[in-house]
Every structure is written in structure tokens, then in C-alpha cells.
């Protein structure tokens, strides 16, 4: 009974944070599926979302849900512009695109540090308090984060499955030139893909801001986690991102029960190596 409680608590722990990392990974893999580039600055959009949460919700007192919507749209637009101006011209040289995204990471991080300072900032959660039941605990804010992430993932699924833009995105991901021949404005689609990918990361950052804290370097860890998730799940595969996220969430919550944190990390990377050797395309065939 005692062990079961621990195990369930571990699962709840894993789920609450894994769902958010799935959001970030979905953004990363969406960008990769359409444009074939690895956006190294992806974590910085997560960070921008956190700062948006701080300045709009905490400082200016905006309603939390409204803040999420505003952040999503604003970062989407920002990402769209970045793609058109910076990444589209570099599409023929993915390595150069990667270096450019590295430059973008430095500019965003340093810029935010200079403008807003390096002190860690707190964002109050709109749902304070802790829930108890059956010997398990979960904070209300984490519960909200879980639900909001699930909603966002569902919305993304609907968008891709049924909306006109979503169909166009999937067509472009499948076969770029064919999509262009069919009259799809591939330029606008790639901009939209990038914008949406960044917006997903920003939404994740805004959601987790009250759970942790806001600081210019907060995007580094989510980027690594998203990367790992995408590798495990398969680059460019959206269902793969969900599967990969589930795997990582489980590993991170159950792992520390038995191993030291260093060993957990080592196991995680070891799993990637094995997976790449055995099934490079990832857990889910895209």
C-alpha cells in the first residue's frame, strides 16, 4: 500500500511537468517537420512566455487566461516575422540556419537580461492551494497546468486535423514541392509553422512561470528536454512527441526513486543511444 502511494505520487509528479515539456517538444518538432531546421533558440521563446506572464499577469494584473491568449498570439506573430526575415533565406543551408538560431538565442537571452535584470522573479498562481487525497498531494496550480496543457494539445490536434491552415501545414510537411504545386502559399505556411512552434513554447513558459520562477536562463533546460523528447519520439512526428514526453516524464519521476540524479541522466542519454541504434526514426513512425 505504501509503495503504491509512492508510485502514484510519482506518476502525478511526472504528468504535471511532462505535459508542459510535451508542449515545448511539439513546437520544436512542428518547426522541424515543416522547415527541417533545429531551432536552437526554441528555449528562449519559452523564456519569453515566462516574462510575458510576469509583466502582464503579475505586474500589470491581466487575467491569466487572457494573458495566455495574448502571449500566444504575440509570440506567433514575432516568430512569423523571424522566419520570414532570418530563417527562410537560410533554408538551403541548415547548418547556417542552426548557427543563426544560436545567435538568436544569445541576443534574446542577453537582451532580456539587460532590459529586465537577472533577479529571479515570482509569478503568483491564479490557483493557489494544495489538494490532498488518498495520501497523495498535488498543488492546484500544477493541476491547472496539466489541464491547460492537455487543452492546448487537443486544440493543436484539432487545428491540424480540420482547419484549412492545418491541412496546408500537414501537406507541406509531407511533400514541400507538391504542396507548392497545389497552390499552397508555402512561404506563408512556413512562417505560420515557425510562429506556432514558438508560440507553443511561450505558452509552456507562461504556464510554468508560477510553478517555478522567471529568469533569463529559464529556457535552457526545457530545450534539452524537448530535444530528448523529440529524438525519442521521432523528429517531425507529433504523436511521437507525446509518446516521448510520456517516456521522459516517467523516467524523471520514477527514476529518482531508485537511482541518484546523475545516474538517471546517464540512463536517459543511454536510452537515446540505444534507441538511435535500434530504431533511428523514433518510437512512433511518422
Amino acid at each position: 500500500m505504501f509503495e503504491a502511494t509512492l508510485a502514484f505520487q510519482a506518476l502525478i509528479n511526472g504528468a504535471s511537468v511532462a505535459l508542459v515539456y510535451i508542449l515545448v517538444a511539439l513546437g520544436l518538432t512542428l518547426i522541424f517537420s515543416i522547415m527541417g531546421i533545429i531551432n536552437f533558440a526554441h528555449g528562449e521563446f519559452y523564456m519569453l512566455g515566462g516574462f510575458a506572464a510576469y509583466y502582464l499577469a503579475q505586474v500589470a494584473g491581466m487575467n491569466y487566461i487572457a494573458m495566455l491568449a495574448v502571449t500566444f498570439l504575440a509570440v506567433c506573430a514575432f516568430g512569423f516575422c523571424l522566419e520570414r526575415l532570418l530563417f527562410e533565406p537560410l533554408r538551403a543551408q541548415p547548418l547556417s540556419g542552426f548557427i543563426a538560431s544560436l545567435g538568436l538565442l544569445l541576443v534574446l537571452q542577453a537582451g532580456v537580461s539587460i532590459l529586465f535584470g537577472v533577479t529571479d522573479k515570482r509569478v503568483d498562481s491564479p490557483f493557489p492551494g494544495i489538494l490532498h487525497g488518498y495520501g497523495l498531494v498535488i498543488s492546484r496550480e500544477r493541476l491547472f497546468v496539466m489541464m491547460a496543457s492537455a487543452v492546448l494539445i487537443a486544440l493543436l490536434y484539432c487545428f491540424l486535423r480540420w482547419s484549412k491552415q492545418g491541412l496546408a501545414l500537414r501537406a507541406a510537411a509531407q511533400e514541400w514541392e507538391a504542396a507548392a504545386v497545389l497552390g499552397i502559399n508555402v512561404n506563408r505556411i512556413s512562417g505560420l509553422a515557425f510562429g506556432m512552434g514558438c508560440a507553443l513554447a511561450a505558452a509552456a513558459g507562461a504556464l510554468l512561470a508560477p510553478v517555478f520562477y522567471v529568469t533569463p536562463t529559464m529556457g535552457a533546460q526545457p530545450l534539452v528536454k524537448a530535444f530528448i523528447i523529440v529524438i525519442i519520439g521521432g523528429m517531425g512526428s507529433l504523436p511521437g512527441a507525446v509518446a516521448g514526453g510520456a517516456f521522459l516524464g516517467l523516467l524523471e519521476s520514477i527514476g529518482p526513486m531508485f537511482f541518484s540524479p546523475a545516474t538517471v541522466d546517464l540512463l536517459g542519454f543511454g536510452a537515446i543511444v540505444v534507441l538511435l541504434l535500434v530504431r533511428p526514426t523514433g518510437l512512433v513512425k511518422s
Binding site: A10, A110, S113, G117, V118, R122, F212, E252, I254, P256
Partner: protein, 391 residues
């Protein structure tokens, strides 16, 4: 014609003032000024800068027959050892400093020492780690408490006052964390406290639920946050609270307490014990310290942490030693630092530590143990570092 005279007069005036102008004494400052530990580096740099400005405003530093304006030169080593070597090189060989006042993060101190020691550069730092001081480093000094000075007296106090028997020790998996962890384990063993957990985690970790899931099941009396940075401490406190921990909690290295408390929230932080950090706004806080804190708030718009005062005092003490030596030659100044007693904003400070390090290069003063109670930091006890008890 008039213009000519005017220009000549101006020229004379400037050369006259130039002749009477002070020489410049360059003081290097290194630290992590970007990245996760940036708060520490920024506070260290600002603390030195504030003291330098004060000295200059009062006419400069008078040593022997010369007067010096102090100029601080800060460099960011980004918490990276290789970068620390580079900026130390730059300070020593290009900027030609003989003093570096302020650094944090043990690995960077070790890296910088490979440059400062052979070149007789007086190097003061806040970073922890017993290996950083000793007879093999004649020019290195630590300007504030490290784990060695604080942990053992604090744990003794804990055992007596709070009746602690079992402990869970946490820390970051890096050089500072590992050395602090070693001190905590050593002190716990010496006092026969049962160590239920001795865990190290990645510096960037933010979700501690899995870790606590395992540790709290063992029901420790006391959880120590070791030498984690303020943001991490805030999260640890918050998540401990969410998981229902009701025992004693302490943060041995607790610096920038307000930062951690802000993130944890007053409820989660309540009861936190901090032996390292001196209360900057308490009833027993020296007025000189309160003055520094007020000035910092006014100048930078943020509350000051301990590192500000520590580095301010460090520069103060070094300049006092220079005056006593009558020169800026580091070989002589060292002799007027080691083993001596100084007056400072903290009160009396003794540069001792021979029993622990083999040399008197550790700044020592009484330890005040503070606790966060009902929204305020309260002094709840005091202790003496072992090397100070002998004096």
C-alpha cells in the same frame, strides 16, 4: 589675443589639476554576471564599486605619500572555469591589476588561482571549498564564511536547540556543492546525527517532487538546502511545503534570502534557518550595514544581499591593510592582512583560520543564526567559528 590668453590659461589650469590628480589603483573583480548565478556576480561587483566610489568621493585612498583613485574593473566569467582563466589573464597581463576583490563559484576560483598566485596578485573571494586556501596559495583570502566555518557550529546548535536526530542533505552537483556536502556529512557524523539522504542534483533542476517523494518517506527531522542558489532554494522550500513537510529546514549557505523567500512564498519559507546569512535588517544589525543596504537600494533599486556587504567590507579591509603597510605592493600587504584584526561595517573581523587551513587567510567574525518567522528574519541564536573560539 584674448582668445590666446584664455586658451593658455585653460591649458595651465588643466595641467595643474592633472599634476594634482590622484593616481589610479585598479582593482579587478570577477564573477558570474550572466547565467543562473548572475545575482551573485552582480552583487559582488556592485559591492566593490560602492566602496570604491565612497573612497574616491572622500578624496581618494592615501597610502604613504601617494593618493589613489580606485577603479574597479569587472569581468564576467559566465560561471565557466576556462573563461575565468581568460579574464584573470586579461586582468593580470593587460589591465595590470595586482588585486582581484571578489569572485564566487569554486571552480572558477581554482582556475583563476593558476594565474593570480604565480603573479603575486592578491585574490579575495567568497567561493567555498577548503581546497582554495592554504600555504600553497599565499595570496588568496576568503572574505566571508565558507561551509567549514558555518556548518559545524550550526549543526551543534541544531542538535542542542532543535533536538535533531536525523538529517537529509541536499546540494548541487558541482564543485561548490560537493565540498559543502562533504562538510555537512562530516559535521553530521561528528555529532552522531543519522544521515538519511545525501543527494546531489543538476544545477538546472527545477522539479524536486521525485526526489522528495523518496526522501520525505524516510521522515527526516531536518532538511538542509546546502549551497543551492536562491531560485533553487525557493523552489525546494515551495515544493517541500506542497508535499507536506513539517520538520526543521535550514539553508547552510543561504545568501540572498529575500530572493528565495519571494519565490517560495511566505508560508513555505516560514521557519527557514539561515546560519551563513547575516540579518541585514534586524534589531542587532550594525548601523553601518544598514547604511550600506539603504544606499544600495537607492542606487540600484533592489534589496541588497550579503555579498554586497561582504565585498564592500573586503575592499575596505584590503585598503586598510594597504595603509598599514604603507604601500600597494602585495607582498607586503599580505603580511598586514594575515592574522590581523580589523574594524569594519560588520564589526570586528579577524583574519584567521590557521587551525583549519594552515594559514591565517580566512575572514572570521561571530555567526548569527537567523530564522524566517511570520514574514520577518529574526535572530534566534549565535555561534562561533571554531578558529575564532581559540582567540
Amino acid at each position: 589675443m584674448h582668445a590666446f590668453i584664455l586658451i593658455a590659461a585653460l591649458l595651465c589650469a588643466t595641467t595643474w589639476t592633472a599634476a594634482a590628480a590622484n593616481e589610479t589603483l585598479k582593482i579587478g573583480v570577477i564573477g558570474p554576471m550572466s547565467g543562473p548565478a548572475a545575482q551573485w556576480g552582480v552583487e559582488i561587483a556592485r559591492g566593490a564599486e560602492m566602496k570604491a566610489e565612497e573612497i574616491n568621493a572622500a578624496g581618494g585612498l592615501k597610502i604613504g605619500n601617494a593618493t589613489y583613485d580606485i577603479r574597479t574593473i569587472p569581468y564576467d566569467h559566465k560561471a565557466n572555469a576556462a573563461e575565468a582563466t581568460t579574464v584573470a589573464n586579461r586582468l593580470v597581463f593587460q589591465d595590470k591589476v595586482s588585486y582581484i576583490v571578489g569572485n564566487s563559484i569554486g571552480a572558477t576560483t581554482t582556475a583563476a588561482q593558476t594565474i593570480t598566485e604565480p603573479n603575486k596578485v592578491l585574490f579575495l573571494f567568497v567561493s567555498w571549498g577548503k581546497q582554495s586556501l592554504g600555504p600553497q596559495y599565499p595570496y588568496s583570502f576568503r572574505e566571508t564564511f565558507s561551509d567549514v566555518e558555518v556548518v559545524e557550529p550550526f549543526y551543534r546548535w541544531l542538535k542542542e536547540q532543535k533536538k535533531i536526530n536525523t538529517v537529509a542533505l541536499l546540494d548541487v552537483n558541482d564543485q561548490s556543492g560537493k565540498t559543502t556536502g562533504a562538510s555537512m556529512v562530516e559535521a553530521a557524523k561528528a555529532l552522531e546525527l543519522k544521515i538519511l539522504a545525501d543527494e546531489y542534483f543538476d544545477r538546472a533542476l527545477t522539479d524536486f517532487y521525485p526526489l522528495f517523494n523518496r526522501i520525505l518517506a524516510m521522515k527526516p527531522d531536518y532538511v538542509d538546502l546546502g549551497s543551492v542558489p536562491p531560485g533553487t532554494a525557493g523552489l525546494l522550500l515551495k515544493q517541500l511545503h506542497e508535499m507536506g513537510y513539517a520538520g526543521t529546514k535550514g539553508w547552510v549557505s543561504g545568501a540572498i534570502l529575500e530572493g528565495a523567500i519571494k519565490i517560495a512564498g511566505p508560508e513555505a519559507a516560514d521557519g527557514l534557518l539561515a546560519p551563513w546569512s547575516a540579518n541585514l535588517e534586524g534589531a542587532n544589525t550594525p548601523p553601518a550595514v544598514k547604511e550600506i543596504v539603504a544606499k544600495y537600494q537607492k542606487k540600484y533599486g533592489e534589496p541588497a544581499g550579503n555579498y554586497v556587504v561582504d565585498n564592500y567590507v573586503a575592499l575596505d579591509i584590503v585598503t586598510q591593510a594597504m595603509k598599514a603597510a604603507g604601500t600597494t605592493d602585495t607582498e607586503k600587504v599580505v603580511g598586514h592582512l594575515a592574522g590581523k584584526k580589523f574594524d569594519s561595517a560588520w564589526g570586528p573581523v579577524v583574519v584567521g583560520g590557521k587551525g583549519t587551513y594552515g594559514v591565517d587567510h580566512q575572514f572570521l567574525r561571530p555567526i548569527t543564526i537567523t530564522q524566517y518567522q511570520n514574514g520577518k528574519m529574526v535572530d534566534v541564536g549565535s555561534a562561533m567559528p571554531r578558529d575564532l573560539m581559540a582567540k
